[in-house]
C-alpha cells in the first residue's frame, strides 16, 4: 500500500497520440491477394492493421484483436481462419519482419489446404493503409497515485492507447508499458505492476482498460482508517 501523499521521484506526464491513416491504394478481394500484398507492404502498414487502426476506428465491442482476423470473419465469413489469425500477438515478437513471416506462414499453410480461394463478400475488400502518428504532451501530470488516477479519468482514449497499447510495442524488450514503468520507478508495488501487465488488452475497449487500471491502482492507495475516532 502507498500513502496518497507519497510523491514519485519523477512525475508522469500523460501524452496524446493521433493516428493518421494513409491509404495505399492497395486492396485485397480474396485471401490470395491478402497474402501476396502482406509480403510487400511497409512494416508500418502491418502495425496499422495489427493494433493502430483501433485509434482510427474503434468499434464499441472488440471481437477480434486485429484487422486481418476481423476481415476473415466479416468479409470471408471464415471463422476458422479468424480464430487462427487472432492468436498472433504482435507484442510477443522481436520485430515486424518476424510478425510478417508468421502471418505469411499462417496464410500459406491455410491456403494450401483449401480447395478454392475464399473471396470477400461485396463491399468488404481489404484496403491496406499505412500510417503517420503524432504524439503530443497533454497538460495532465501526476506526482502521486491519486493524481495518476485523477489524470487517467480525465485523459482521452488516445492517451490510454499510447501509454498501454503502443507502449507494449515500444517497450517490448522490457516487457512493460509506460504506466507499469512509472509505477516501478516510483513505488514499491510489484503486484500492481503484475496486475496491469496482466491485462489482456486485445479484448478490452480503451475505456474498459481505463476502468480496469483505475480499479487496480485504487486498491493500492491507503484509505483513511475507518475506525479512527471522529474529529470533534
Amino acid at each position: 500500500m502507498v500513502s496518497p501523499d507519497q510523491p514519485a521521484p519523477n512525475p508522469f506526464w500523460f501524452s496524446e497520440c493521433i493516428v493518421m491513416p494513409m491509404p495505399t491504394g492497395k486492396a485485397a478481394v480474396n485471401l490470395r491477394d491478402l497474402l501476396q500484398t502482406l509480403r510487400e507492404v511497409n512494416e508500418s502498414t502491418l502495425s496499422y492493421h495489427l493494433w493502430q487502426s483501433r485509434m482510427s476506428i474503434a468499434h464499441p465491442e472488440v471481437e477480434y484483436p486485429n484487422d486481418f482476423a476481423s476481415w476473415a470473419a466479416n468479409a470471408l465469413q471464415d471463422s476458422r481462419l479468424a480464430e487462427k489469425l487472432s492468436v498472433i500477438d504482435p507484442f510477443g515478437f522481436e520485430n515486424m519482419e518476424q510478425i510478417r513471416e508468421a502471418l505469411v506462414d499462417l496464410l500459406e499453410e491455410y491456403l494450401w489446404d483449401l480447395p478454392s480461394v475464399p473471396w470477400a463478400r461485396p463491399g468488404f475488400q481489404f484496403y491496406f493503409c499505412d500510417v503517420s502518428t503524432i504524439v503530443l504532451r497533454s497538460q495532465i501530470v501526476a506526482r502521486t497515485l491519486p493524481e495518476f488516477c485523477s489524470g487517467l479519468m480525465k485523459v482521452g482514449q488516445n492517451s490510454i492507447y499510447y501509454h498501454l497499447m503502443d507502449a507494449r510495442w515500444r517497450l517490448r524488450s522490457l516487457k512493460t508499458d509506460d504506466f507499469s514503468h512509472w509505477i516501478k520507478e516510483s513505488f514499491d508495488l510489484p503486484e500492481l505492476i503484475s496486475a496491469i501487465q496482466g491485462i489482456d488488452i486485445w479484448f478490452y475497449t480503451l475505456d474498459e482498460i481505463r476502468n480496469t487500471i483505475l480499479e487496480f491502482v485504487n486498491q493500492y492507495i491507503e484509505k483513511p482508517d475507518d475506525n479512527a475516532p471522529e474529529r470533534t
Binding site: 496524446e16 493518421m20 464499441p60 463491399g123 502518428t133 504524439v135 503530443l136 497533454s138 482521452g156
Partner: protein
Amino acid sequence: MTTRLKELEPIVGPIAIDQLRRMGDRLGRQRLVHINSTRVGGGVAELLSQIMPLWNELGIDARWEVIEGDQGFFEVTKAMHNALQGFKVNITKAMLNHYLEVNRLNAGRFQFDADFLVVNDPQPAYLIQHMRSRARRWIWRCHIDASKPDRKVWRFLREAVRQYDASIFSMPNFAQNLAHPQYLVYPSIDPLSEKNRELSQEEISGVMNRLGIERDKPIILQVSRFDSFKDPLGVIEAFHMVRAHTPCKLILAGGEATDDPEGPRILAEVQEAARDDPDIKILLLHPESHYEINALQRAADIIVQKSVREGFGLTVTEAMWKGKPVIGGAAGGIVLQLEDFHTGFLVHSAEGCALRIRYLLHHPEVGHRMGRLAKEFVRSHFLMTRNVRDYLSLMILCDNPGSRSIEL
C-alpha cells in the same frame, strides 16, 4: 462571449477541445486557405461553413476562397465529377481548354499568400499550375468517390494532383496511385447544426403535424435522394414484406436527383409503387429542409439507408447521432459505420432489410441499445472536431515530410 468551441465542449468533452487548442498553439498563426467552387449548397460548402469559425478560435489565420466560372466551366466540372465517380462522359479537348483557362483566370484574381492551401475537388485543381509559389504546402482534398474513375479524366486531373504535397480522401478505396502522401480523413457532422441539434418533443411534433404524418404506428424512415443508388424501390419492397407481419409505416424523404438521368424515372416508379398505400409517405423536400429532416429522424423508430452504392453515407452518421437503430446497405462507408448487432445492421437485399426491420420492431430494447452505441461511436469518430483535429495533424505532418512519427 460564447464561442463555437465552448458550445462544442459539453458534446465532445473538454479534453478534445483542449487538444485542439494545444495543437493550434503549436502551429501558431499559420495562414490556411480553403478553395472550393461554391459558398452555398453541397456537402463541401456545408463543411467549410462549419469549420471556418473554429479556425479563427484556434488562432489559425483561415480564409475561404471560391473559384469563379461561367456556365460552361461548371458543365465541364460537373462532367468531371461524374467521370471520377465512374460514369461515362464525353469531355472534349475544347471543354478541357476552357476549364484550364478559367483556372488560369482565377489564379490571376487571387491575391493571398498561404502557408497551407487546401484545394477541394477537381474544380480548382489546376490553380497550382499558375500559383505554386503562393502557398508553402498544397493539399488536394477529394470528397468524391473516386474508387473507379474514368481513366481519361483521371489522367488529365492527375497531372495537376501530382504537383501537390499531399492529398486527402474520405475512404481508403478512394485513394489513387500517387507518389505523394495520401491521408484518410473521414467526413463529419456538426452536432450544433439545424440538421443535428437536439430538438424538443414539441418541435418534433410540430414538424410531423405540418408534414401530415400521424404517429400511430412505428415509423420506418429513409432519407435520401430518389436515385437508383439509394434503392428506394428496394425499401418499399422490404416494407411490404414487413407489413405482412407487423403494422408500421414508411416515410421516404428526400430531394429529386436533378443531375441523375435516371432520377425522374426512379421517382415516378417510387410514386407508382406507393400509390394508394396510406402507410407509405413520399416527401419531396427542399435541399435546405435540414430542420424537417432532423425532426423526421428523431420521430422515426428505425432508419434505413439501403444504398447499393455509397460514398461515405453521412445520412447514416446523422441517424446514428440521433440514437436510432440504423439498417444500411453494405456499400461504401456504411460498412465502416454499421457493425451488426452493435452499431446497426448491414443488409444485402430487400429481404435482408425486411428481416432486420422485423427483428427491431419486435426487439425495441435491442434497437435502443444499438442507438446508444451508435451515438457514442459517432461522438468518438465522426463529429467536426475530429475533422478539425485531422486538418491540424495534417498541417503538422506536411511540415515534416519524410517523418512518419512526430513527437511534439
